[in-house]
């Protein structure tokens, strides 16, 4: 049975879309048939990060409003056999997202995919609720700073009360923490919270940190999910996250400051 996974955060710009693309591509690489849906109606950019923006004809809202079929709207990734994208509409507003429609689309997708990844917009309003409402599991994307942690905490609370699973008193949505844009040097100087601090506050299972990395920018500029650049720090960190999610044991990386060598210390003073 397919699993619906919401990628959500409350706060904007923390890396939800980057994570959705990387995580979906990672699952596809591991052989799971995966679709990633952009719920950020009006500000779509998942298609850019996935490099398929020129192939968008129909979108999620067309399918919800029966203006196009799911087959017409699903875009097949050119690199990975198992990966599909369902883009958001650039021209409509969030009110066009109704829960009944979302449920119908998800049910149709559940029959064809192993994993359905829902890239949530920022905030705690309608769009974010639509993206999390039918979730079975959720990746809480958080940056190691107080405001992001606070917003994530709010989202964790909402997953426990404002979702289908909560309202129907089913087994609760399984939540996982993904800590992105982690910069060990700024953690050491106390400018940022440590992974331990964030885990202690949110009290949900931890999938790992993604380091602050130039590779993310490069990947998104060229329309490639960063997990396809497995040589990169961020790409390999995301693959670890995918593998831990799938139940593999992976030692945590990118959480210790790299000790500078003698020469760099010498030249940097």
């Amino acid at each position: 049975m397919a699993k619906v996974i919401a990628v959500t955060s409350g706060k904007g710009g923390v890396g939800k879309t980057t994570t959705s693309a990387a995580f979906a591509a990672g699952l596809a690489k591991r052989g799971f048939k995966t679709v990633v849906i952009d719920f950020d109606v009006g500000l779509r950019n998942l298609d850019l990060i996935m490099g398929c923006e020129r192939r968008v004809v129909y979108d999620l809202l067309n399918v919800i409003h029966n203006e196009g079929s799911l087959n017409q709207a699903l875009i097949k990734d050119k690199r990975l056999e198992n990966l599909f994208i369902l883009p958001a509409s650039q021209t409509r507003d969030k009110d066009a997202l109704n829960l009944e429609g979302v449920e119908r689309v998800l049910n149709e997708l559940r029959e064809r995919f192993d994993y359905i990844i829902c890239d949530s917009p920022a905030g705690i309003e309608k769009g974010a609720i639509a993206a999390m409402y039918y979730a079975d599991e959720a990746l809480i994307v958080t940056n190691p700073e107080v405001s992001s942690v606070r917003d994530s905490d709010r989202i964790v609370g909402m997953l426990g009360s404002k979702t289908y699973r909560a309202e129907k008193e089913l087994e609760p949505v399984k939540e996982y923490l993904v800590l992105t844009r982690y910069d060990t040097r700024r953690v050491d100087t106390g400018e940022m919270l440590s992974a331990e601090d964030v885990q202690e506050i949110l009290a949900i299972p931890f999938l790992g940190v993604i380091p602050e990395s130039q590779a993310v920018l490069e990947a998104s500029n060229s329309g490639i999910p960063v997990t396809l650049d497995e040589e990169s720090d961020a790409g390999s960190a995301y693959m670890d996250v995918v593998d831990r999610f799938l139940g593999e044991d992976r030692p945590h990386r990118f959480m210790q400051t790299v000790k500078k060598g003698f020469f760099s210390r010498l030249f940097r003073g």
Binding site: R150, G157, S161, I201
Partner: protein, 252 residues
């Protein structure tokens, strides 16, 4: 019409107030409340307030809680709970951020509003029938999971939390509150008048603590007890924080 036949503003301590609405639609209530309270301002600076609907003579009238709370906030009041009311009231109130609270939070002592109208005897309080089951019949309550930002847990009796209460979360009890974790949010024990109630937590970093309506906010708390395992009791009308020790959580 005399304002006092429309609502009564009461306080037990001078901290948690209750606004008992007796009848009328929102517009009438707002107009009379404004007449009664005069110009907005810091009249009730930071006073917590419960809206009491248990004596409503017009139970079918819907109440616009957003508008009511908006106006109360103009006066420096912090509406946080309702008592009584029909299921529709409870639902509308929840949307405006008000949670059903037990009777312990409703004051039955004299009116504290500016005395431009003659005091009225308090209306006998009838037990509310429509409070959600969860609150109505629970004496004590135990919660095993972290209370997250935006969540609010209410118990008529004692409340035990087997995890942390995070910043932005609120735990409220008619009796004592025991937190086996960090208190980073708000904890209000003892309703408005249970002065025997206390708060206990493993790591005190609260936004607000209150016992029987007496409260302290974060920056009023002595830095020496901040972050300590502590108990909070009411002694001689003042909050007394006792440092019990030090606690460090086990990393999981």
């Amino acid at each position: 019409m005399n304002s006092n036949s429309i609502f009564e503003l009461k306080a037990r301590s001078h901290k948690v107030l209750s606004l008992r609405i007796l009848k009328g639609d929102t517009t009438t209530i707002l107009t009379h409340l404004r007449n009664h309270l005069g110009e907005p301002g810091g009249l009730f600076k930071d006073s917590l307030l419960v809206i009491d609907l248990s004596s409503l003579e017009t139970p079918r009238n819907a109440i616009n809680f957003e508008a009511l709370c908006g106006m109360l906030r103009e006066y420096g009041l912090i509406p946080f709970g309702i008592h009584g009311g029909n299921p529709k009231h409870v639902q509308d109130a929840a949307e405006a951020g008000l949670q059903p609270v037990p009777e312990a939070f409703v004051s039955s002592t004299q009116s504290v509003a500016p005395a431009q109208t003659e005091p009225q005897p308090p209306v006998a309080s009838t037990p509310a029938q429509d409070i959600p089951q969860e609150v109505a019949d629970s004496g004590n309550k135990t919660v095993a999971k972290t209370v997250h930002s935006g969540q609010r847990i209410v118990a008529a009796g004692d409340l035990t939390i087997l995890a942390a209460v995070n910043s932005g979360a609120e735990v409220i009890a008619g009796g004592s509150i025991h937190i086996y974790g960090a208190l980073r949010g708000r904890a209000l024990a003892g309703g408005t008048d249970n002065t025997e109630a206390s708060i206990f937590c493993l790591d005190l970093e609260p936004e607000l603590i209150a016992v029987a309506g007496e409260y302290l906010v974060n920056d009023e708390i002595n830095p020496e007890v901040f972050g300590a395992t502590a108990s909070i009791t009411l002694e001689g009308g003042e909050l007394n924080i006792t440092r019990l020790g030090e606690f460090s959580p086990v990393q999981g």
